[in-house]
């Protein structure tokens, strides 16, 4: 089940910050973290991310549930690299038949996993603590995004949970019509494609009706829009972005000082 609702306590000090500021902070942080290939800087970054989590009002257990695809990815990276990496430097730790696990391989894999978390977690945290309506409002008011895009995306977003129910109904309706795939993988694929097509047709029709209803309420008018919910962008929001850049920068500096820094380019 896809949930789009924020999971954080809404009055936590950092969760309350302007959504655009949170998004900018996450982007700045992630971009700086992409710059290095070593395991030290991401390790510091992940530690910092987990340390600020309480300030966002997110509990660790909730985050783990949100981020389970990441955990799955981490396990995948570890297994793949440990078994199939071409470069097998360092001390041999385990030798089981064809699988040879060396310290070099393990270090590379760990570095990759840490980087993935360091880059992805800020985004997960931002979306876990931000109401989509607030984000659209802030994008329009503080980032000067076009309302047609931001509100349109928001309205479309609201229809996403309906797609899950639609998928189930279409699948059941097909079974009722005598259509099933049994164990034949090709028939399964065909059924999947045709169900997806029916879902798409339904989604487009609903989207069109929604667009007409929005235009009927003046969404396409030339009148300049006013805003019912004001989003403020204050000094604290600037500080949040600066703080994110500073922490990421500090993590890189430590890595350079320790001599472990390996730039992505060069």
């Amino acid at each position: 089940m896809i949930t789009l609702e924020p999971v954080a306590a809404p009055d936590a000090p950092l969760a309350r910050r302007n959504p655009v500021a949170k998004l900018a902070a996450a982007l700045v942080f992630s971009f700086i973290m992409i710059a290095t290939l070593d395991p030290v800087a991401p390790a510091i970054a992940v530690a910092a991310e987990l340390a600020v989590l309480p300030l966002f009002g997110v509990r660790f257990r909730v985050l783990a549930r949100r981020a389970w695809p990441l955990l799955l990815g981490a396990v995948g990276i570890l297994v793949t690299l440990v078994l199939f990496a071409a470069e097998r430097s360092g001390r041999v730790l385990v030798e089981a038949g064809p699988a040879v696990v060396t310290s070099g391989v393990l270090l590379t894999a760990l570095g990759l996993v840490l980087r993935m978390f360091a880059v992805a977690l800020p985004g997960v945290i931002v979306f876990a603590t931000t109401d989509p309506t607030d984000l659209a409002d802030a994008l329009i008011q503080n980032a000067k995004a076009p309302a047609r895009f931001a509100i349109g995306a928001l309205a479309a977003f609201r229809l996403v949970p309906l797609l899950g129910q639609e998928w189930q109904m279409i699948s059941l309706a097909r079974r009722a019509r005598g259509v099933d795939a049994g164990r034949n993988p090709l028939a399964r694929l065909r059924l999947f494609v045709s169900t997806a097509f029916a879902l798409l047709v339904g989604a487009i029709r609903r989207g069109t009706r929604l667009a007409v209803a929005m235009d009927a309420r003046g969404f396409d008018a030339d009148t300049p829009r006013t805003v019912a919910r004001r989003q403020r962008f204050g000094a604290a929001d600037v500080l949040l972005i600066a703080g994110a850049a500073a922490v990421a920068g500090a993590a890189l500096t430590v890595s350079v000082l320790l001599g472990t820094f390996r730039p992505l380019i060069g």
Partner: protein, 466 residues
Amino acid sequence: MRGFGWRHAGRRAWAVRGVDLRVESGERVLLLGPSGAGKSTLLAALAGLLPEDSGEQEGTVEIDGLDPRKGRERVGIVFQDPESQLVMARSGDDVAFGLENRGVPAGEIWPRVDEALRRVGFPYHRDRPTAALSGGEQQRLALAGVLALRPGLLLLDEPTANLDPAGAALVRDAVAGAVDADTTLILVEHRVADALPLVDRVVVLEPGGGVRADGTPEAVFGAHGDALAAEGVWVPGRPVPPRRATAPAGDPLLAADRLGLPPRLAPTDLAVRAGEALAVLGPNGAGKSTLALLLGGLLRPGAGTVAASPALAGPDARTPPHRWRAPALARRIGSVFQDPEHQFVTGTVFDELALGPRRTGSPEPAVRATVDALLARLRLERLAGANPYTLSGGEARRLSVATALATAPRLLICDEPTFGQDRRTWLELVDLFAELREAGHGVVTVTHDPEFVAALADRTLTVSRP
């Protein structure tokens, strides 16, 4: 409106043509006409929602002397489907959406939102998530979103067609309470008896073009009542004849024992026999649709059992229906879903009807005979080559019932088959179900429609909320 006509781009026929109509400020008009007479197109034109490049126009439409495309802020429109006209996640934000678009100063927005919510009798705080509202409440909210803009002309395009009777009553009360003396109202609605308290004038469109009748409800229904009823309008004061079973029910077909699916359906016992029409009633949220899916062998029971009799399933009666392969299921139990479009699989009406028999292994000549018979029986011959997604509501409903019958199942399970149907399709469905019962089929219908139950059902089962 003088000599107005509109043809959608790429269509040969005019959606509406030759309409001369003058509506004074403050009038409340019920717009009637058989399916396909162009009522919705007319409303869209009045709402300024037909862009000039999307079709061809004849004659003129003016609102207070202005092209409706330019005078859009004078007109508000509420559509049929609540799901696809709410924009925001919170109720108050949704009402504010139109005000923001029209550039209403921020300080005035929230007082006007609260006023509009009060006028429609919205029972919750404005932070209430729109997803947590019932269909009737969502339509009330949509009405509030339109009223907040203070339109001089309010257009309602079958606002209660997708709602159960309780939800429809909510919306009608809201309209009656919210429309003031200087709001002009134009309403499209099949269920005339429900609409009459809201209107003082009735206009009937002629499918070929023009206006057939125009006047007070008494005058219009006095002169044209019979013709309108025959064309499918629910003219008040014309009761439908009941169709009673002529023979006692036969062998049991399907039995449910403590059947449930927490948290959607509480444990339920029921038995369906051949030659019997059973109606399943109950409030919204009682799990009636879930029960239909369970009986149809489409969902695995969470508790209790569904057992088919040997009369229905032969040797397969030992396994529960949800374990049967789909072709075997379709030969024994036919399911008709609430939304016909969920069931369409192919690109033409003919293929749609042929799909079931082909999947269950009928030879091609037999398939052709079955399809032709069903096309004729359900007045769909003219549409054999049409795409199922382009059918009108009544046609789509008839097709979805026909597809379930194509594999000749002994048991038919329908979820709200008469929902939003015009009188003609409604009578045809009752006749068809009565015929099936006569021929020894079992018919189970989940329904909110008291007239349908009175006309057809031999027995009723009421489920309550779990």
